[in-house]
């Protein structure tokens, strides 16, 4: 029986593992956290349908439970990957016939953009923090009060040469719109401002959501990046920005700032490249063999990619890549 190691237990990895199992392959699924689910574990609802993230995860987990050819190893990382052997952080070495890398991305650390004051001022939070607040069911300011004026800043750690992130993270625009609507649903009286460079609504239903945010929820969209944030004497946040549509600088007091943090290439990618013949793109994301017909294959035969390890992707795309990577792996095993 052929043995495939899937590295990463997020949506792409889980999907890929379940597809491989269907084909009668022995699968070892590695997850560095204690639980499968990846980034989605910390997410509340998914755009554009407001589907609870938990719903997607439990369906995926359900597909894997009880599978007799599956070995799930949590709390371990892969340190070196070859098509024949995967070395784990515990020092253990696993023999295999192929490997799928589905390690996903690293969330951009908002502290790097020090001027936005994340980790310095209360009430400057990231989009990931806000999802956690939604999960807990309590979106509150540090002092317990309800937010009245909220700014959402797009492109934090995306399309920003100053922090070496030239690429667009793709999903933040629609996340920003989704979160603005969710905030307005919670606090209909609140003013929500989205500061953006461009609004990129690439998926089905996204543009409609953007329109709805404006017409139905009265979310304000200001074209311009925030340049700096400072605290005011009454514990609010003062933001400085430029409204590039009117060409004027603006200052605004808000009581909560949400930073839409982008997708950074996985921090582990560089180490991966050092220990193998795999290639990285200038953005740090892994380089697929080919952008069209080999987009889930690496440049090394027998090593495949699924999900956001190669580029920012949304959940649906990552799930599809899980299937595609499984298919490519099966084909490769058959040819061997």
């Amino acid at each position: 029986m052929k043995h495939v190691i899937v590295i990463g237990g997020g949506v792409a990895g889980m999907q890929c593992a379940s597809e491989l199992l269907k084909e009668g392959v022995k699968v070892t699924l590695l997850e560095k956290e204690q639980n499968t689910g990846g980034k989605l574990r910390n997410w509340y609802k998914l755009f554009p349908t407001y589907t609870p993230a938990e719903e997607v995860l439990s369906a995926l987990r359900h597909k894997l439970t009880g599978a007799k050819n599956l070995t799930l190893k949590t709390g371990v990382e892969a340190t070196a990957i070859t098509p024949k052997k995967v070395t784990l952080s515990t020092g253990e070495q696993l023999d295999c016939d192929a490997a799928v890398i589905a390690t996903g991305f690293t969330l951009f650390d908002a502290r790097v953009k020090e001027e936005y004051g994340y980790g310095i001022y209360d009430n400057v939070i990231t989009s990931a923090d806000l999802e956690q607040m939604f999960v807990r069911g309590e979106v509150r300011l540090k002092n317990g009060a309800k937010p009245k004026r909220i700014a959402i800043l797009h492109c934090v750690g995306s399309r920003d040469e100053k922090v070496c992130q030239r690429h667009c993270s793709k999903v933040c625009c629609v996340t920003g719109v989704k979160q603005a609507i969710e905030l307005k649903r919670l606090f209909p009286e609140a003013n929500v401002f989205n500061f953006y460079m461009d609004i990129r609504m690439f998926g089905p239903g996204y543009e409609e959501m953007y329109r709805e945010a404006q017409t139905q929820y009265n979310v304000h969209f200001v074209r311009g990046r925030i340049s700096e944030v400072s605290p005011t004497f009454d514990d609010k946040l003062q933001i400085k920005a430029e409204d590039t549509l009117t060409g004027r600088p603006l200052k605004m007091g808000v009581d909560m700032l949400v930073l839409l943090v982008g997708m950074k290439s996985n921090d582990m990618n560089s180490a991966l490249v050092e220990n193998s013949f795999l290639k990285q793109q200038p953005s740090g994301f892994m380089q697929p063999r080919n952008s069209f017909l080999g987009n889930v294959e690496s440049n090394v035969g027998g090593i495949f990619y699924a999900g956001a390890v190669t580029a920012p992707k949304n959940v649906g795309e990552s799930l599809n890549e899980g299937v595609a990577a499984a298919r490519a792996t099966i084909d490769w095993l058959a040819r061997k």
């Binding site: 020090e114 100053k162 070496c164």
Partner: protein, 597 residues
């Protein structure tokens, strides 16, 4: 006695042209000096400063002491050529006096004395002079040999890269390389036919007389003196138009500098002395990070000065400089490279737009009150960790603080100055000066070295002490107003910001502050030799990824120290290094704020 032969003509013409051109240059430069500079000369010329200048001329123009500090071989090469040639002339003059007594001898009589001694049938020989002159010639020839060797292997003389020369330089250089070997041959040939000479010319003379017939020797005798004269003449003609103009220019420069003349924000006549004193030795090339880390080869100070001198300076050259000062501190002539580049930028693009600065009128967003004023600067406002650390330090020390720009203020003016818009910068300088005066502060603290430099150099803040936060924090600690705890085992490394270190000479204070809380591990390049972070506001030509390349190289060295934290004391450096470092990067104030007892 006759002191003329036809072969002297190239030499005489060359020397005359040299004399006329140099005289014209000096007269026009001195004539156009601003009144202020002329006054400085008048005041200082009959003072101890002139004696000091003479001593400096001996040390630098002749002995090349500063080049010795760069590399001993390189120093020897320059010294043997300059000092050796000087001694040949001086001893040669004494030699003529020794033979002929005190009487007027034309210039060529001194230079070609060996020839004229024969011509005028002076048959006696003075072996001591022959020996000394041969020794000096050997000394100079050893320098020429090294110069040839440097062409092939510059690394052996401590230079990875050497200057790319213009046509006049090549012409003068080739002539210079041939002058002394030709002199050796001409004098040896003379010795071969007429005797005389010491171990070198005499020795070669014996060798020549043994290997060649008298007829052949007499055939080549005149042509050799001709060639020697032509080489000298060619060199003299090329000299004032080539880099060798530095030989004569450095001398008045040293005097003027001792009289306290300096280049300023606007170009002026004095700059000519600095620009033409550049010998294009190329020592400034290797320290330039644009060269070593980005492979940009045409912008270094040597090329900037060359282009400015020949009136072919382009903005893209003038603007492509980090102004880190690494070249300035190693320049053997001590040229004020940064100031010259800035005033070039000013002449090239100073287009003040009056309307743009109307908003300055009457703005005052400052808060608080106290004798101590704190000016954060734009970059500190973009690194609020520094700002909140300073807030904590001020409140712990119970200092009443007037916050100049916490809620927004006007730029210090330095970035505009650096981009050559000095008139616009002046508006900001005037505005801020008035603001500081209005609020009656006695101390002005800033955590931005860029602001600090312009406060110290361009603002007229008599009565207000301007301090960098490193100096201020150290003072608070010494006064006992601020007590910090030392953690055994905590390690820090320190990056010297250009504007603070080379710019303001502040190296020790930040180090003393760090050593109060933990162990300091120095990176390989530190203090005067420290690298620039690459994000300098002075460079508007390189792009972001080039800045990042530099930052990564700098961060690499800091990471290698193994320290737990990288400390710097400039918000711009902090942001730049953070992009490339694996280790956490913090401002000096942050490590103090978190270790307050």
């Amino acid at each position: 006695m006759t002191f003329f032969a036809k072969f002297c003509i190239p030499f005489i013409i060359g020397a005359a042209i040299l004399f006329i051109v140099i005289a014209c240059k000096y007269i026009s430069w001195l004539k156009n000096l601003p009144r202020q500079d002329l006054k400085l000369i008048a005041v200082n010329i009959f003072s101890f400063k002139s004696i000091k200048a003479v001593w400096e001329v001996i040390c630098e123009s002749l002995l090349h002491r500063r080049i010795f500090r760069v590399n001993r071989m390189l120093g020897y090469m320059h010294m043997s050529l300059a000092f050796g040639w000087f001694l040949l002339i001086a001893v040669g003059w004494i030699e003529t006096v020794a033979y002929l007594g005190f009487k007027w001898v034309p210039l060529q009589g001194h230079v070609f004395f060996k020839y004229f001694a024969v011509l005028n049938s002076i048959n006696e020989h003075k072996p001591l002079f022959d020996f000394v002159m041969d020794l000096l010639l050997l000394f100079v020839l050893s320098g020429v040999g090294l110069a040839w060797f440097k062409r092939v292997r510059s690394r052996a003389l401590g230079m990875k890269r050497t200057t790319k020369h213009v046509a006049f330089d090549r012409m003068a250089l080739s002539a210079l390389w041939f002058i002394f070997p030709l002199r050796l041959l001409a004098e040896s040939c003379t010795a071969a036919i007429y005797g005389g000479g010491s171990f070198l010319t005499g020795g070669i003379g014996i060798l020549l007389s043994k290997t060649m017939s008298t007829y052949t020797l007499e055939m080549i005798y005149e042509p050799l003196w001709w060639l020697y004269s032509i080489a000298l003449g060619t060199f003299f003609v090329a000299m004032p138009f080539s880099r060798y103009m530095h030989i004569f220019t450095e001398i008045p420069l040293i005097f003027l500098r001792n009289y306290r003349l300096r280049p300023e924000a606007k170009e002026k006549s004095y700059d000519n002395f600095e620009v033409e004193a550049c010998s294009r030795c190329g020592i400034c090339i290797d320290p330039c990070q644009l060269q070593s880390q980005l492979g940009i080869n045409e912008v270094q100070s040597v090329y900037f000065l060359r282009d400015r001198r020949y009136n072919m300076l382009q903005q893209k050259i003038a603007n492509n400089c980090l102004m880190c000062g690494r070249c300035e501190q190693i320049c053997p002539v001590g040229i004020n490279l940064n100031t010259l580049r800035l005033n070039s930028r000013t002449s090239m693009r100073n287009i003040p737009n009056e309307g743009r600065y109307n908003y300055l009128r009457g703005v005052d967003r400052s808060t608080g009150s106290g004798k101590v004023g704190y000016f954060a600067g734009c970059m500190t406002l973009l690194t609020p960790n520094t700002l909140s650390a300073m807030q904590k330090i001020f409140s712990t020390a119970r200092e009443d603080v007037w916050w100049a720009d916490k809620d927004g203020g006007v730029c210090c003016g330095r970035p505009l100055k650096l981009s050559g818009e000095s008139d616009s910068a002046q508006k900001m300088i005037d505005y801020n000066t008035e603001l500081f005066r209005k609020h009656n502060i006695s101390t002005l603290v800033t955590s931005c070295p860029i602001c600090l430099k312009v406060f110290r150099e361009e603002y007229r803040l008599e009565g207000i002490e301007v301090l960098h936060h490193s100096e201020y924090i150290l003072r608070l600690m010494k006064n006992g107003k601020l007590k910090v705890k030392y953690t055994v085992g905590s390690t820090y490394t320190y990056h010297d910001p250009c504007e603070l270190g080379r710019g303001c000479g502040i190296y020790d204070e930040p180090r003393a502050v760090i050593e109060a809380v933990g162990e300091l591990l120095e990176p390989k390049h530190n203090r005067k030799d420290a690298f620039c972070c690459g994000s300098s506001v002075a460079n508007t030509a390189i792009n972001d990824s080039q800045q990042l390349t530099i930052a990564t190289k700098v961060a690499e060295e800091l990471d290698q120290t193994g320290a737990a934290k990288i400390v710097t004391s400039c918000p711009l450096c902090k942001k730049a290094i953070k992009r490339g470092a694996k280790t956490q990067v913090v401002d000096l104030s942050e490590i103090i704020a978190e270790n307050i007892k």
